[in-house]
């Protein structure tokens, strides 16, 4: 059985490899902290200070400021942890799907429905 296979060239599909995990550790660790309500509130009170505390790099900080999921993934973010960040702003997985695909939220929801038919 073949042990190794390439996962990183599937079109439109980020795969959270060791490379992503290394690059994204600080960002994902910050997002993991958002399981805790007090941490979410601390982030909202002082976003810059909170990012500095977790040691985010410039690209990660810029992506957090922009609330840009594609940039966050590019910077090593994992979508399960990023969902906790998105939750602070009440963004659903349809909202972040729409953002990443360039569709309106309504168009994205229609796309989901169409595939169920």
């Amino acid at each position: 059985m073949s042990a190794l296979e390439s996962l990183t060239d599937i079109p439109g599909t980020p795969v959270f490899t060791g490379f992503s995990a290394s690059r994204g550790l600080a960002l994902n660790k910050m997002c993991y902290s958002f399981n805790d309500r007090e941490s979410r509130e601390a982030f909202v009170r002082d976003e810059e200070g909170y990012m500095a505390r977790f040691g985010l790099n410039d690209a990660q900080k810029a992506a957090i400021r922009a609330r840009n999921v594609a940039q966050l993934i590019e910077a090593g973010g994992n979508v399960y942890y990023l969902a906790k960040f998105a939750g602070i702003f009440g963004l659903s997985v349809q909202d972040i799907g729409a953002q990443q695909t360039g569709m309106s939220v309504d168009a994205f929801k229609a796309h989901l429905l169409a595939q169920g038919e």
């Binding site: 296979e5 599909t13 995990a21 993934i73 906790k84 939750g87 349809q94």
Partner: protein, 289 residues
């Protein structure tokens, strides 16, 4: 002796929790999904399992990326749910079965599965929602004891479908050798196709999901033979939760029959699916193995 009386699989999409909290089970969007549990409830009422072994993937509640076990098994007397960050209700605690946990761990390690053993473990929506769907009216007095088993589906490399199939088979053998009369249901949670990230976000592959639901009953070895790449290509990057279905199916080593199943897409961004299989006491499986 302990015996596995059946296997249940269900999607564990967090929005199910929101729908239940808002009482939306009868709305057109949700009704087909919740209705699928009526025959499940009838079966549970009739069979009354003592223990549910719940195979799922943690989404960043108990495990962070600092330490990510490929497989972990709970060995606690109690498992707590907790805040996951995006506002679904926290469910009451779940009673464990410490003796069966340690028996499983002993046998799985002897069977060459190098587990992470957890005497404290927070259980996330992928564990809690299926139990809530099984017992919606229990008021948090869950009528089963539980054992969580997690499969890493966040940090690649992930275990292969074949490895998960073999884990399931080892779970089946371990339960069957537990020297205490009890009925066990194995629950696999997650899937089916979905992808939350990237330009292909929103992918649902109904044809592949229906293929999986057919094969999981009659030819699970065909699913165990899929590579992770094939699963991601066809079911999306989070479609790898299919591993939990395959593991569940591996544990059913008797006369396996479908009790009920439902496919309902989309649920949120996911191909929603529910299936209940009974595992009769006869030793010859419908599957080739």
């Amino acid at each position: 002796m302990a015996r596995i009386i059946g296997g249940l699989t269900t999607s564990h999409v967090p929005s199910i929790a929101g729908a239940m909290a808002r009482g939306e089970e009868r709305t057109p969007y949700w009704k087909p999904f919740f209705d699928a549990f009526t025959p499940v409830h009838e079966w549970l009422n009739r069979e009354r399992p003592d223990v549910a072994i719940v195979i799922y993937n943690d989404h960043g509640l108990n495990f962070f990326l600092d330490k990510m076990p490929t497989f972990s098994v709970g060995a606690a007397a109690r498992y707590d749910n907790a805040d996951e960050g995006w506002g679904i209700p926290i469910l009451p605690s779940f009673e464990g079965d410490v003796d069966l946990s340690w028996h499983l761990i002993e046998h799985l390690v002897a069977d060459e599965f190098d587990l992470t053993i957890c005497q404290e473990m927070l259980v996330d929506h992928a564990f809690t929602l299926p139990i809530k769907l099984m017992y919606p009216d229990s008021g948090g007095q869950w009528p089963v004891r539980t054992i969580p088993i997690t499969i890493n589906s966040i940090q690649h490399p992930l275990p292969s479908a074949m490895r998960c199939w073999k884990l399931g088979q080892a779970i089946g053998r371990a339960v069957n050798s537990f020297p205490k009369d009890m009925k066990v249901v194995v629950v696999g949670t997650g899937g089916l196709s979905h992808q939350l990230d990237g330009e292909r976000a929103g992918l649902i592959n109904k044809a592949f999901d229906l293929f999986c639901m057919e094969k999981i009953v009659s030819d699970p070895a065909a699913l165990a033979a899929l590579s992770n790449r094939e699963i991601i290509e066809r079911a999306g990057s989070q479609g790898v939760e299919l591993m939990t279905w395959i593991t569940m199916r591996g544990a059913l080593n008797g006369d396996v029959r479908k009790v009920t199943s439902l496919y309902h897409a989309p649920i949120s961004n996911t191909g929603g699916a529910v299936m209940l299989l009974s595992n009769g006491s006869q030793s010859v499986s419908l599957a080739a193995e």
